[in-house]
Amino acid sequence: MDRRNFLKAAAIACTAAIPAKDLKANEKFKIDEDRVGVLVDTTICIGCRNCEWACKKAHNLSTEPLEKYSNREVFENKRRPNNKALTVVNQFYNPKNSQLPIDVKVQCMHCDEPACVSACIVHAITKHKEGPVTWDSTMCIGCRYCMVACPFQIPAFEYDKALQPKIMKCDFCIDRQKEGKLPACVEICPTETLTFGKRKDLIEIARDRIKRKPNRYSNHILGEHEVGGTSWLYLAGQDFSKLDFPKLVSDPAPGVTESIQHGIFAYFIPPIALYALLGGIMWINKNKSGEE
């Protein structure tokens, strides 16, 4: 048995041994036809990073003043969303015009069939029928299954906290949405790179933009079919793999699978069996303490 198969078997054994969320239980869950989403048009984004600032403000994360965000040096390294920034903008070379680099905002995609939800053994992550995928800190046991399962490498862990570290990710500003407001990043974006609306409308709009300007766009709406569809959709002027998006199939990512081939996976799989076990114990303890 090679390493990969062993891990797979171990993962399956673990998920079978503990009260994992059964995918089939999802069948009752009916996703809303009119669920919302955001269309990110990377051909419009100017990389002003106002969205990063607004996101932090809306989530009470510490941040520098907005004026500091015009610093372009941050683009020298590629960044990932983490516990300090739920969304980040990265910059890529534009072969069509070197003066107009491509800027790409990254955050949780709010998958229609989220792998993180399937992977979470204590139901701490929820897919709402309106679109957002949110995370509940009171239930999380810190097992990091979701980090491994997410095909877009989104959930991030508070490594710098020894006690009660939290998993963090974009929550689609669900609280703001409930108040009838736009997500903070959508509201601030100066260019309306981020268009908020019903997902089905956004797909029509995206198709229309491609049809009108076939030279500007590559004929692909990322998130229309990938991993079963996502609430956040992307348009770009070139192949998404050149913009650091993983190559994905249209099947939903089935929780912990071998097809997820990013760095974290290789690094985290060994402790996962242990985490699962510990997770089970913690979960039981948590419930116990709740009863006391």
Binding site: I46, R72, Q99, L182, P190, I205
Partner: protein, 386 residues
Amino acid sequence: MKKLSSLLLINLFLISSLFAQQNVEPKHFQQQIDCKTCHKCDVPTKDDPCLIACPRVKMLKTYPSPESSPSVLIIKKLEDRYNPVVFSHRIHAQMSELSGGCETCHHYNTLGPILSCNECHSIKRLRDDVRNPDLKGAYHQQCITCHRQWNHKADCISCHELKKNGNKINIQQKIAEIGNKLHPKVKEPTKIVFETNYNKGKLVTFYHNDHTKIFGLDCVSCHKNDNCIFCHDKKDEINYKTLIYDKPIKLNLAESERHKMCSDCHKTSDCNLCHKEDIAKPFNHGISTCWALNNFHKQLTCIKCHKKNKFIKLNNQCISCHKDWTEGKFNHKITGLILDENHTDLDCSDCHINMEFIKKPTCDNCHDEKSFPKDKPGKLIKKVKP
């Protein structure tokens, strides 16, 4: 849905042909504007095009001159954190003449008053119909796409002054500062030498002044889609602005793009027509076509003779252009020499052998010891240069 959209398409086609009869844009449904910009309903028909009321007489475009356009606009519809933006409209209008014209920004350009942006672009971001960008998005897409190419910034304070401690900008002062600014006159280069990667001829010499003065091209014939960065790039200090075109320059363009600049008029299939080892001499009609232009012809623009911009070989007989220069009708005075009585009734070919008027005329057919120009068959009224 499919059915609906095909119905829509057929209808659009019908309307478009209606417009075509009025000698207007034949393919108006292919324009890069949304149908809903003009039509209120989902399925506009010939009988009921359900047009939105806007100042549209015909689907024609209007091009006010930069001088007649407003010098400054104050953008303050969306004032929030920032003070109003004082936008120097006129200088932008002037610059746009080399970069796509009014439509660069007024992309929905009708005959009649210019529509204000918020007729189509909502001032609300949270809205039901999100097909058009909202006003804030539309403004920024319009401005920053150009500006960030030449100053490599995407910060807010380049255009917006921050409202801090209630400070207000003095709009009148701002208007006075930028209101009358015009772009300085662009200095035209004589020649530009391009260094290329082509092995069998590295240099392409482009005589800019020949193209404008002799070939009679307008600036916009070539510079219609230029961006400010064509001349100004704030990152690169040694830029076109300071470049005096005394050294070969390299173009940062894809091959197809490079050739496109010339291929509208020139054949680009024969590389060595343009690619040479050395800097080429300016165009000379005599060397290139073996028919040197004399004084009169030198003053003409090419298309006077080469009609329809076709630079093909023409018949060089005078009569092929000067239709009325037939024997008996031609007035010799226009050559600067009035023939005397003895010579007026001669045939042209008596002096101009084989009717070759470029060559020196001969007297040998009648006279033994005479020759032109020492002896003249009449009175010289102005100096004739051969």
